[in-house]
């Protein structure tokens, strides 16, 4: 009783009735919007995944605060700074452990083709828990790394580097080297392949570089410590030849660097724009046809006393309904394709839906449909009410 009383007080949702009346046209419109939504999600997904791969190796770096030279751009183009800074940082309250990380490029010879390629090499003290990969955190691994001229190799290195068999012997910078283990890390955009070796071996391969100059400092904090507070204290105590970042900050800084120096931001941004335009055109076509078919009816409404503003609202209402009806299947399809892409690339292209993207694409879709509505609405609003008598 109460319900029907309420329902009867609402205005007739003309937009919805009009759309619903033309079933097949409505389905085409929904499919069109869903397609555009899907394209937007895929472009943003690839963009997000690529940006993610530029920095996702940081997930395996065991640090709460990172020390780098102010002149460093990203992990592979760091400027070394004095190891002394680490010792200074270690004395600050809340810092549990301070660990150096060394990095250089070496020429790795593919033992099958004899062709050498640049390989990115990390050096660390095997007694420091610098990396989180389980393969590196066993006593056997630490022992193997302590042997002279040994290295672990990244399974995600490009196949051009050749076989990764444990025990395999080849050359790095013209010096004999033996593979003693494997791990999965990835080199982002900077490296086609990576090696991890002990600091002592690192010194052998990159002599005369001294171990007193480090590329990255990793600080582990006492559990429950406020990283930002420690960061501020460090900032006030350490000289200006090091910058201090939390993990989130260094990840953001480096992905920003890659978006700016490569064209991935542009390419996928363009992809989103094209999807947006395609969607706009499809919805415009649908709305235009719909308005054309209802022109006489709209003119009648104007004749009996409805204003142009009312017709404007009806068309925009139709646009928003199309946006919402198309968005939902578009989102569901995108989730499916994300999972598919994630599987097909074995996790190296991490396609993950984020809340931000869900909201962002929804906003884009509503904008897209409203824009089409605004372009096509003129015809409805300016329809001549006298035309109904023609």
């Amino acid at each position: 009783m109460r319900l029907s009383w309420r329902r009867s007080r609402r205005r007739i949702p003309l937009a919805w009735y009009n759309l619903r009346h033309e079933r097949s046209r409505l389905l085409v419109a929904i499919a069109g919007v869903a397609f555009a939504v899907l394209l937007m999600f895929m472009n943003l997904g690839f963009l997000g995944a690529l940006i993610n791969t530029t920095t996702n190796f940081y997930d395996q770096f065991n640090g709460d605060i990172f020390l780098v030279s102010p002149q460093s751009l990203e992990i592979s183009s760091t400027k070394a700074f004095p190891r002394q800074r680490l010792y200074q940082a270690a004395g600050i309250e809340g810092v549990q452990r301070a660990m150096p990380l060394y990095a250089e490029y070496a020429l790795w010879k593919n033992p099958e083709t004899q062709i050498s390629r640049a390989m990115f090499v990390y050096g660390f003290n095997p007694s420091d828990p610098v990396f989180l990969m389980p393969e590196l955190n066993t006593d056997a691994a630490r022992q193997a790394l302590q042997q002279p001229n040994t290295t672990f190799i990244d399974r995600r290195s490009r196949p051009e580097f050749g076989p990764q068999t444990i025990g395999l012997e080849t050359e790095a910078d013209r010096r004999r080297i033996t593979i003693v283990g494997q791990y999965a890390l990835g080199g982002g955009f900077a490296a086609d392949g990576t090696l991890i070796m002990s600091d002592q071996n690192f010194r052998r391969y990159f002599a005369p570089r001294p171990l007193t100059q480090i590329n990255l400092g990793l600080l582990l904090l006492d559990p429950g410590t406020d990283a930002q507070r420690v960061q501020a204290t460090l900032r006030s105590r350490l000289p200006a030849d090091v910058n201090l970042y939390t993990k989130a900050e260094i990840v953001r800084k480096e992905s920003q660097f890659w978006i700016q120096t490569t064209s991935i931001g542009f390419i996928f941004g363009l992809g989103v724009l094209v999807s947006f335009i395609v969607g706009t055109v499809i919805v415009y076509q649908i709305l235009y046809t719909d308005i054309r078919d209802h022109l006489r009816e709209y003119a009648t409404l104007k004749a009996i006393g409805y204003s142009g503003g009312y017709l404007f609202k009806v068309v925009l209402h139709e646009a928003v309904i199309l946006a919402l009806l198309g968005y939902v299947p578009g989102l569901i399809l995108a989730l499916g394709l994300y999972a598919l892409a994630d599987n097909a690339t074995a996790g190296t292209l991490p396609m993950q839906m984020t809340l931000f993207r869900v909201v962002f694409v929804l906003a884009l879709t509503i904008t897209m449909c409203s824009l089409s509505g605004l372009i096509s609405v003129r015809k409805a609003v300016t329809t001549d009410p006298a035309a109904v008598f023609a």
């Binding site: 009996i304 006393g305 009410p385």
Partner: protein, 267 residues
Amino acid sequence: MSAVPVQPVSPGAASPGAASPGAEISVQVQTLDYFFGQGDLRKQVLFNINLELHRGQIVIMTGPSGSGKTTLLTLIGALRSATTGSLRVLGQELVGLGNRQLVEVRRNIGFIFQAHNLFESLTAAQNVEMAVELTGNLRQKRQRATAILENVGLGDRVDYKPAALSGGQKQRVAIARALVNQPQLILADEPTAALDKQSGRDVVTLMQQLAQEQGCTILMVTHDNRILDVADRIINLVDGRLESDTNPQQFVEAHTVKSLDHNMFVM
């Protein structure tokens, strides 16, 4: 030129237009001209129209095709803006009014068209409710819509869409939509042209009944000589000029004596 008997309309002369003195005037047109187009294409379609419609009158307007009947109707209905002369409708001067004010005026007028112009996506009741919503009375809109549909004999069709209704039924829904807000003036342009003889007759009788109940003025354009008898007054428009203003007896006599001018009733 046609051989229609010419009875110039002069205000104040003893014509059916000048009903009992003091009667309320619904529509008063004075020295109205109207042009279509601009520049070289400018073409005058209405010439010095003078006309008064009194409250409660049913006036039928006839005349050859292209003589300007629809144009005059749309001007009175505030669907076009007049720029010359004077055009008072329900006490409001329309000449010089802006679009927004014209919309307001239209809300007090019921329109009935040759085509029913119903929303195909809405039921009969919803089509009528669209008109009720204009009054802001959302609570009783359904009630009022069904009541008027019952009045026009469609009580058992309220929830049918136009596609499921016959031509006559659709036109009756359109009439219900025009009448539901009890307008003081009804403008109808060939409302029976698309209907067969019987439905046409029914529709006109219905309009007559409802008009009498609600005391509103009706101006109806028609070529249909079978329905002339409902009129209190018949005016004849030829080439944009008001040529005669008679009551039905005079009209019929005039046209039977001087062998009927077939042009008058071109469908």
